[in-house]
């Protein structure tokens, strides 16, 4: 049997949807028994949320005041202590998981499989390399704990309707004090859909030209109920905050609808959107590489057509 420990990502109240996607990956591992581990100051609410995911066999909690905020150096030794009873440790390949899991793997003395995108066997996974241009099948040794981060865009979130038992664990390990949380400044307003999980995303690129013009993207996104994304060029230029960057080194997303506005379609950007169901591209250059992956392309000046689209949606 594969005993899978999935590390919960959360904000203290709710489970992040990325963890629900990691659960789906865990369930695809042959003969899996899936446990979600919640590390928090007060894990009750998150544990209750996690327990309702279908396919979760158990939820374990580790309460500690040091777990108020997620610091990899503080969480990793606790996870290592819990991991001894499991064959696999999984977490979402988000900023949280990317920061945390390699620290866990190193403490366990095992390699890590990053961005698992398909399960080929209990110890065999596919993952993308070279900005998604080469897909590698990796096989890990079954006599050690397998640590893997899960590429969210490759797995649907686990459904609700579960009712897993919740139990509290006491972990007695020494926690480091060399790393301290100071603050978080969130630029994006929370009344918009979350970029990582939204069904629709509209992204703007360098062509927007200024932060003021980027408001055109926000405006259309509001009309469509879409989340906002950006190319690296738009983020570097300060038109959009960094957490909106989509691509190889930003967020990898798989919405139902992705609209790329004034984005050329560099490979680093495309790898972030390849799993979108429908891609729309608006670009004034008919030769732009974005049109090679788009389902619907519109060769036009964005400053002309965005207002037209808004008007069409209003009518």
């Amino acid at each position: 049997m594969s005993k899978i420990l999935v590390i919960a990502e959360h904000d203290g109240a709710k489970l992040n949807q990325a963890t629900a996607r990691a659960v789906t990956c865990a369930r695809q591992i042959p003969d899996a028994q899936v446990t979600i581990a919640v590390f928090a100051a007060d894990p009750a609410a998150v544990a209750a949320d996690a327990a309702t995911l279908a396919g979760v066999d158990a939820v374990v909690t580790v309460a500690h005041s040091a777990n108020e905020t997620a610091l990899a150096a503080v969480l990793a030794p606790q996870i290592v202590a819990v991991a001894a009873h499991y064959t696999h440790v999984l977490a979402a390949s988000t900023a949280f998981g990317k920061d945390l899991l390699p620290r866990v793997a190193a403490l366990l003395g095992v390699p890590q499989i990053s961005d698992a995108m398909a399960v080929e066997g209990a110890y065999k996974f596919k993952r993308p390399t070279y900005a998604g241009n080469a897909i590698v099948t990796l096989e890990a040794s079954p006599d050690r704990i397998l640590v893997a981060s899960v590429r969210g865009a490759s797995f649907e979130p686990a459904a609700r309707g579960g009712n897993a038992p919740i139990s509290a664990l006491s972990v007695t390990v020494e926690l480091p004090t060399h790393t301290r949380y100071v603050s978080l400044s969130a630029a994006a307003s929370s009344d918009r859909p979350d970029l990582a999980s939204a069904a629709k995303v509209i992204s703007g690129g360098r062509a927007l030209g200024s932060k003021e013009n980027f408001a055109l993207i926000y405006s259309l996104a509001s009309k469509m109920g879409a989340a906002v994304g950006a190319s690296r060029a738009a983020v570097d230029a300060g038109y959009a905050p960094n957490e909106l960057q989509v691509g190889q080194t930003g967020k990898i997303i798989a919405p139902q609808l992705y609209v790329a506005v004034g984005i050329s379609g560099a490979i680093q950007h495309l790898t972030g959107i390849k799993d979108a169901k429908t891609i729309v591209a608006i670009n004034k250059d008919a030769e732009a590489p974005i049109f090679e992956v788009s389902d619907f392309g519109l060769v036009a000046d964005l400053f002309v057509v965005l207002p037209e689209i808004e008007k069409a949606l209003a009518g």
Partner: protein
Amino acid sequence: MRKILVGIKRVVDYNVRVRVKPDGSGVALEGVKMSVNPFDEIALEEALRIKERGEASEVVAVSIGTEDAQQQLRTALAMGADRAILVKVSEAVDPLVASRVLVAIAQQENADLVILGKQAIDDDAAQTAPMVAALWGRPQATFASKITLEGSVATVIREVDAGLETIAVDLPAVFSADLRLNEPRYVKLPDIMKAKKKPLDIIEFSALGIAADVGLKTVFVEPPKPRSKGIVVKDVAELVDALQKKGLI
């Protein structure tokens, strides 16, 4: 004074579209342009700025790679690194192995800061910085977009999914550079000449007593499934119509 170690990985240049070999054994690297991993240029730039502010005295560039990685180390020296170390391997190593090597060098050199890239754009693993920190028993500040040093503490702004997070870590510590940490300088011709005279030491990987096999094997490499090319619509009306028919708007 502080000593900074910077990781320099030789990777396929970011402009190259790599091709998978038909036999599934890997990607075709013959004749392909190789460069310093872009995130490592940012890591090195940060180290150089820290030194130029008088907050460090030496910047050492380290690469784990084949003989050819000397080219990238020379680039690092031309940018301004004081010394370089090549840990010579015959083939690419797993991030866990690279981490063990970097820790061995960090200990040998008594480094105060290790600055790596957030990810290598070939394996896209994003593992090495947290692994080095764990094995070295030190704090980590990954995805850094601003690093401020004061005495024995570094305050770091990190690019996380929710926005910008600030943490404080005690030195020595490991940092990973994100895109917005700085803009790396260009190398000037006289610097390339000067770099030829700077020390570049070569250490055989086998001399470090670190196992190369971590029990993870590559079974197969394949190209991604292609996306089928769609259509070009003539105007906004046709686009809106098409999306409405699909129930997307």
